[in-house]
Symmetry: C2
Subunit: 444 residues, 2 copies
């Protein structure tokens, strides 16, 4: 299943070999393209790919290295870009026929940051229609009869199939963490405002969050750090010094962490085998993990729905009115329902977010992370839906960082443990996640 | 019509006399109370007043002065507080029977700031029901058959009737500037976030703005400066050093200002004699004033309506559901209509605000201020309505500072010239307003 051993490397390993001259960016990119040739017929992770251009970028990076100049943090690494994120040299089509052939003039800020860090922009990964509910063509690499999840379908599936070590996704409901879970990769949906959204399709200004995929925590830290510059042109981007995530991960947790196990209002919707696997996993953490209830979260699923619906209606409502023929029946019906959410409900749900976050922050004053499921279970069979985002929307609404660790399986299909941290503290969340991985590996 | 010559003083004059020992705070407060006794039977500006407590505060301030300690910026000045702003020692009843007898535990942040600056909190001034449309008992001091405007009815009427030199109001539609216009006083609705809203009744987080009344520009600068500390607990309060408004006003404008005359989408609703008076006034400014059009403002009245309705529904909707008997028929009908604004409309109107502000900011790059009417004309006769806020809501939506200058009359009733400035630049706006007053006085 591997065209070349190079694609087995984590991003961090590949970056180090390229930096040392043991591997060229061109050879590495070619290995990724070979892997795509090998696997993509079954998976269809790509909305657009131009091998010649990818190799051209790689050769330029090899020349840069040969010149002796300093290397970026991601020098020579290939990255897949979700097809709602603008690229100046490739179309960005939003998984929607209305935008067929659309060619942006400029890179999104996050793509610029990747290029500045020396990444090879490999291609555009498949998104569901307008990053919402209607599935696209991608299939799950663990079993093509199953959904890869959405909306960042191609990014998660491509990283899982070793087509590239890193990819960008976005989450408005559960579009980063759920595909991470279903495809058995590591995913990070950071704090709202850590990664710039300038040049990313807007469907909900309160929720839309750019996130990242990799095959290790170190890789998430590596790319998230490269993407975390402040962008005054994104209203939610907060001023900060760039967090040193790689360093924080290496340093580890300052004290032995404790964990808040939170089943959440989504628990009743989770599948029984997934619940059992989750409870067994947290059981292995022993006394460090204890269950919490957070009554302020009781109605949070509905609040997320109100915010997403009102903002979807605000941004996509006019699009639907102009191009009714260009939007799927399923999403049209959903948008029409969204148009009925009142401004008053929306305002109250926005405010409920702060009340709920205050309660969550209190839990996180006492615990290093909240532990919960990343999805209702593994990827469902079939392609009529990308699965349920109910374990994710609540955290998207709160704007908190979430990481999914591929630590569980049911029936041979992977799914994730979700760790949730405090706003603006990816460093602590990633170090805590590493602690969990190490602890569970040692107890295996 | 004056119980005592002291009440004729501006706040700045009274403060200086008190500081020099030519007037005691107690004597000054007594003069204000005497003026209230003389005038308030006709005007009814007060929702709550406790003369003994006011005199007690004044005597404490006199003792403070006698002790030789430094004096606050407002030492000994009496201030009227709109009855939706919390006071720990007086009820705050929101002009609504649901809140009859309500006694807050703590002062609003703006009241604390006034006390810290040495002000005497004289009493609570009449507001319309829940600071919205339904009139309360106050009458216009220029002619009690006319409305004083609303919702800050008692604050504007009380300052106009020399009951106190300074007062606090709030504006969500036109509730600071319109009463300033109708009562012939100076009013400032500052930038959203200049004055803290902590402890102020919340009806619209995007619009609600605390403003001030006085009988001169210097008095507005004096009190606004005392109130302009940053408050992290109000989400719209922006970090800043305290603006030196008194100094800026004294320094004057750096260059000879030019003015953008903007009739605005409200122009068609203005009364003919008011339009004529406005055009005559700007004509007296000569070549410095030239008319502008701002197409981005064409739909701004509807956008303000959507934002106010959605947020009103969000905050007052649940109150109406719990206490239908406690809310007037007129406001009930308005709230019921508000419940119909969709989340999508609300989102689009919020975004339209930024587009419109960008256009207004460009006009203000070229001009020192926008000149427009403060109201559709002078205070209408009758008490069934507090008049039309159409000249104000658009600026409240944009969050820009506005000042009303009592420079015009029709039929013996005053109304204001409104100057609009850039966000966060009250200093320039006040200096420009002073320039206009001086220029027009010299040309009289």
């Amino acid at each position: 299943m591997f065209a070349n051993d190079a694609v087995k490397l984590t991003a961090t390993e590949a970056r180090d070999r390229i930096a040392k001259g043991e591997l060229t960016a061109e050879a590495y990119t070619q290995a990724c393209l070979d892997q795509i040739a090998l696997r993509d017929k079954d998976i269809e992770a790509w909305a657009f790919i131009d091998p010649a251009r990818a190799l051209e970028q790689a050769r330029a990076l090899d020349k840069h290295r040969a010149s002796g100049r300093a290397l970026g943090q991601l020098h020579g690494l290939t990255v897949g870009i979700k097809d709602i994120i603008d690229t100046a040299d490739m179309p960005t089509q939003h998984g929607c026929p209305i935008f067929k052939g659309r060619q942006p003039d400029t890179d999104a800020a996050c793509v610029s940051a990747l290029r500045a860090a020396g990444a090879v922009i490999l291609g555009k990964t498949v998104t569901t229609e307008l990053a919402n509910i209607t599935p696209n063509k991608t299939r799950n690499p663990h079993n093509p009869a199953h959904t890869p999840g959405g909306s960042s379908s191609g990014s998660a599936a491509g990283v899982a199939a070793h087509m590239m070590p890193l990819a960008l996704g976005t989450q408005t409901g559960g579009s980063v963490i759920r595909p991470a879970s279903f495809n058995g990769v590591h995913g990070l949906k950071p704090t709202l405002g850590l990664i710039s959204r300038t040049g990313v399709l807007l469907q909900s200004h309160t929720l839309d969050t750019v996130g990242v995929y990799g095959r290790s925590l170190g890789d998430l830290a590596l790319i998230a750090e490269a993407l975390s510059g402040h962008d005054p042109s994104d209203s939610v981007s907060y001023d900060r010094t760039r967090p040193r995530l790689v360093e924080a991960l290496a340093a580890g947790t300052a004290v032995k962490p404790t964990f808040a196990v939170f089943k959440s209002p989504a628990w009743s919707v989770a599948e029984e085998p997934a619940k059992a696997a989750f409870l067994a996993l947290v059981g292995r953490l022993g006394a460090a993990a204890s269950e919490v209830t957070i009554p302020e979260m009781d109605d949070i699923v509905a609040h997320h729905g109100n915010v997403m619906s009102a903002e979807n209606a605000g941004y996509y409502g006019p699009l639907l009115a102009r191009h009714p023929e260009g939007i799927s029946k399923g999403f049209t019906e959903r948008l029409q329902a969204s148009l009925k959410v009142t401004g008053g409900d929306y305002v109250r749900s926005l405010n409920a977010r702060e009340t709920a976050y205050a309660a969550v922050a209190r839990v996180l004053d006492q615990n290093a992370a909240i532990l919960t499921l990343s999805s209702t279970g593994p990827a469902p069979k079939g392609h009529a839906s990308t699965g349920n985002a109910i374990f994710n929307g609540m955290w998207t609404l709160l704007g908190v960082p979430c990481v999914s660790l591929p630590l569980m399986t049911v029936g041979g299909m992977p799914f994730g443990l979700q760790l949730v941290g405090k706003r603006r503290d990816e460093a602590r969340l990633l170090a805590t996640a590493r602690h969990v991985e190490t602890l569970l590996a040692s107890k295996r």
